[in-house]
Assembly symmetry: D2
């Protein structure tokens, strides 16, 4: 069916692309293309469209399709495109997966079912049914903050062994469980065929030291060069330099927390921060996030600007 350009394993920095919007809430395809260009030129190993940072939860199906078409065209085969297919359960995810395959995505990224009360056996079956329905490599997306269940080794390892899963995006924040998984996969000889990407964007040095193949950093939208440097340092064994780069990025990550929790939610503050930064950097035309997120105000934007300057990204 769909040909894929996905390296095995996939290595390096795979930014979960923000989705630039027009003031009217439509997909800003020009800005999205510019964003893809910027991260590809910076040395990204791939791009991940329609993840949580891409506001997938806020986009209707038509807008999701526009995002995938735009990203696949912009990537132009230079890097693989991973497509988020986030929805509540199997049948709905398969619909998104078919669209993604039609748009030319190189891999799918799916969470466990959510909204419903789910059993590990159901989660495993869910991934198998997606894999059977659409012939693209499938990444499991572990995101308990949104999904409210954790993908355990008991779910993942058999699905790696039988070929259901090609990779994992681990945004669980559970570095201990990740370490145990990496050690288990290595013991089974699966660490060269199964890709493990960490979403813990403030502990990338540690994750790479532990054997992760790459990282999916939301902040990589804003500073892709920084994450690529971090990755290259780690790959070359320059761990102190990797840690120093990670420290710099950890300070910059303050752009995700300028919003007052008394007046806006975590998504509004984090995604608003990424977009305000991209706007200030001239990458995207409009910093708007999708409704009903609360827009950042002047104070928050000023704080973002200051952090960009401190990080050397803005003059």
């Amino acid at each position: 069916m769909s040909p894929t350009r996905l390296p095995v394993p996939l290595l390096g920095v795979v930014p979960p692309l923000c989705t630039p919007l027009t003031p009217a809430g439509e997909i800003d395809t020009r800005s999205l293309t510019a964003l893809v260009e910027r991260v590809v030129v910076a040395g990204a190993g791939g791009v991940f469209a329609l993840g949580s940072s891409g506001e997938a939860a806020y986009l209707d199906d038509a807008r999701r399709r526009t995002v995938l078409e735009t990203v696949c065209q912009a990537a132009a085969g230079r890097v693989p495109v991973l497509a988020g297919v986030i929805d509540m359960t199997t049948a709905r995810v398969v619909e998104h997966a078919r669209t993604a395959a039609g748009c030319g995505a190189d891999a799918l990224v799916a969470t466990a079912p959510f909204y419903t009360r789910t059993h590990p056996a159901e989660v495993a079956d869910h991934f198998r049914r997606i894999r059977d329905a659409v012939d693209l490599p499938l990444f499991a997306y572990d995101m308990p903050a949104s999904v409210h269940t954790k993908l355990t080794a008991g779910i993942l390892v058999p699905a790696v062994q039988d070929g259901t899963l090609a990779g994992l995006k681990d945004s669980s924040g559970d570095e201990g469980a990740l370490r145990r998984l990496l050690v288990t996969l290595r013991g089974l000889g699966l660490d060269r065929t199964f890709t493990v990407l960490t979403g813990s964007e403030l502990a990338v040095d540690g994750a790479l030291l532990a054997g992760a193949h790459g990282v999916v950093p939301g902040l990589g939208n804003v500073d892709p060069h920084g994450y690529v440097r971090l990755y290259e340092h780690a790959r070359a064994g320059r761990w102190r330099e990797a840690a120093a780069e990670q420290d710099r990025l950890a300070r910059l990550f303050g752009i995700t927390a300028t919003g007052d929790p008394a007046v806006m939610g975590g998504s509004s503050s984090a995604l608003g921060g990424f977009k305000a930064a991209l706007h200030l950097l001239g990458v995207i035309d409009c910093p708007a996030t999708a409704a009903p997120q609360v827009p950042l105000g002047d104070t928050e934007r000023a704080a973002v600007r200051r952090l960009l300057k401190d990080a050397g990204l803005l003059a």
Copy 2:
């Protein structure tokens, strides 16, 4: 736009309809029509399609549309049809709301945003945007077990006062908060125009005593007559009889818990129990639940049969 037959307030038993499926996983419209007929004849005050009991989370958009078309046709104007429009955030919910209006639904039932990290101000804005987009009465659906946030009085009361919300389906299980809300609404003179339906199907007598207008019981798919009797007892002030009926239904509710939690999730067990019962009662043709739910086995079906006999529903 859409004319509505929704009484103000809506009173009585409003079963959240199960969605019968064929063995191939398609909507079984014959069985769904039979189910609607059965609950309408039993005296339901309305029907609620595409709620959690209706496996809305498991149905793709085409199947959701088929459900609404079937239910609206089967109800045939005898009782109002409430349509669940369950999805992650506003834009996606509005899509479902437009479909529901097109199918002839009489009201919409929407949760707060989920999957994302949300602030109360965003939740309130979410409801306002849905109400503005589609001209149908809007019920807020409080379902923290699935949505992972609670609809507080601080969100609800202003949205009642400004006309955004026409009603509440409270499946939070927080009877204390519900009592405080009912008292507040009464103090504001809003208890005759704003409908409060409890989803706490094992504490309906207490909720009606506290002033709720009606109930949305999943078990009402299986025993609509029982819930109608319970409602009528309460309406007539026969509280001991209402409690006795509720006790009988609480025993029957055992059909939702026949599944072994070591091998299946809560949805599989509960929805599988409802459907097994409807199949044993001859209402629907096939007890299958949507994938990836785990089907009930012989042991569970035998337990369901026994409970139906104990409740006097099966000879």
Copy 3:
């Protein structure tokens, strides 16, 4: 060993006594005696010392002992004294239980273990070991908000059947599970020997209708007469009157939520509200709560005063 005056089952209103403190943080035994006197005269069926409303978590062992000695002396055999023995696990709870027996308490009230990660089999064993160690009737205290696990029917019913537990204080807020438990106990003929007290102080009418024997209302410190009237209405089958009394108490319950959540925690606001009310009513000498709770300010105290007036408790 210890003689007990505990009726079987225990009926009526059992206020979880607040613990009045001096400005220096010592137990104010005069005020505590006055509080006991007030609720006994109002018609309480028992008193519960050292529960969550009694700030047990905030009191060192010496102060806990002073509370029990004071309450037992003040009750003077007129009503049974239930003693909270709240601590992390078995050995620590047994120490408190021995003290309680020595002070003359008539029953013990213990939660499941907390702080640790616990299995249902361990919870059941925990209750058995407490019962074996100290010869007093034992109530299980279901308080998931503090303990972070729920006491399931699978834990409780066997412990009722083998005589480990004499009663349950259900502050879980899960009225559905409580209904199922009450129906199960009745089916086993245990509803006349095992006492079920609800801690859902805003849904007492419903709980009594469902078969609970009584209520443990924190607000009963402030308005014991109201809860006794509510109980008597229910006992006599005057359900509308019971509901009206519950509505009045639900409004008064506003005293627990005058504190701004941006500056103080839930305990500070709720316990501070009870104590401010008792101070305004002239029952206790000082409204202080135990450190490190944040004291109510003038605004909050004014709000409490207003609610007491609205409820007819203050001229």
Copy 4:
């Protein structure tokens, strides 16, 4: 008041000592002394008594005192003794702190209040009151799995700046928040006076790379030499070797998960695993854990033995 031998900052491996028990449940002081001796000889930078791994939650006050006396005597001034003072709120914690000071502990380790509903301002005040009451360096213990709240930078940083806190034991598993905290402390020039110890015993290489001063590994009871090697590799910049040692320890950590979750809780399995290993290694005389934990069976003990052999700790 109490002299302390605590280095500033405290560096290296600080095992949270298991508490060996006799078959009758008393403190086995001989075995505890042997355990201290073993970790001190292995090169521990300190010992932490009465932490979660020390079953503090399961020990009454007399047994807690015996533990501290034994550990202080066994350490004999060679390494500092950190004393856990785990209890629900301030007054109770202060009692334990006074005991610890009397026993000769060199520092205190306290969690935020638990069981109660707490506000950050209350948590900060809690630490200040403990520090004021007992003149020993105070470590904050961030343990959301047990305490159910997280110690945020907003709580910690002011308490570091004003001298309330001397250190942090971070068992939150939130490596991103820890990274942000380390960067913040460094920016304030506090990283040389404030000690940060990670409890994430499977991600120690990453934590040290990020700037943590040391580690408090439960598994360090069983393999203190391994953790000391890991620490020394990191200190010398041999990061690949550090990671390889961490990988070996991650495999050995399987001893904490031999118990079937269907029959025992997480504490039973983890602490039972540590003690079974220490017993098999001949360090302690009896592998019993405190009641009501479920003891490991033959299958679990065999699995522990196998893992010890695989790790090269047992012939």
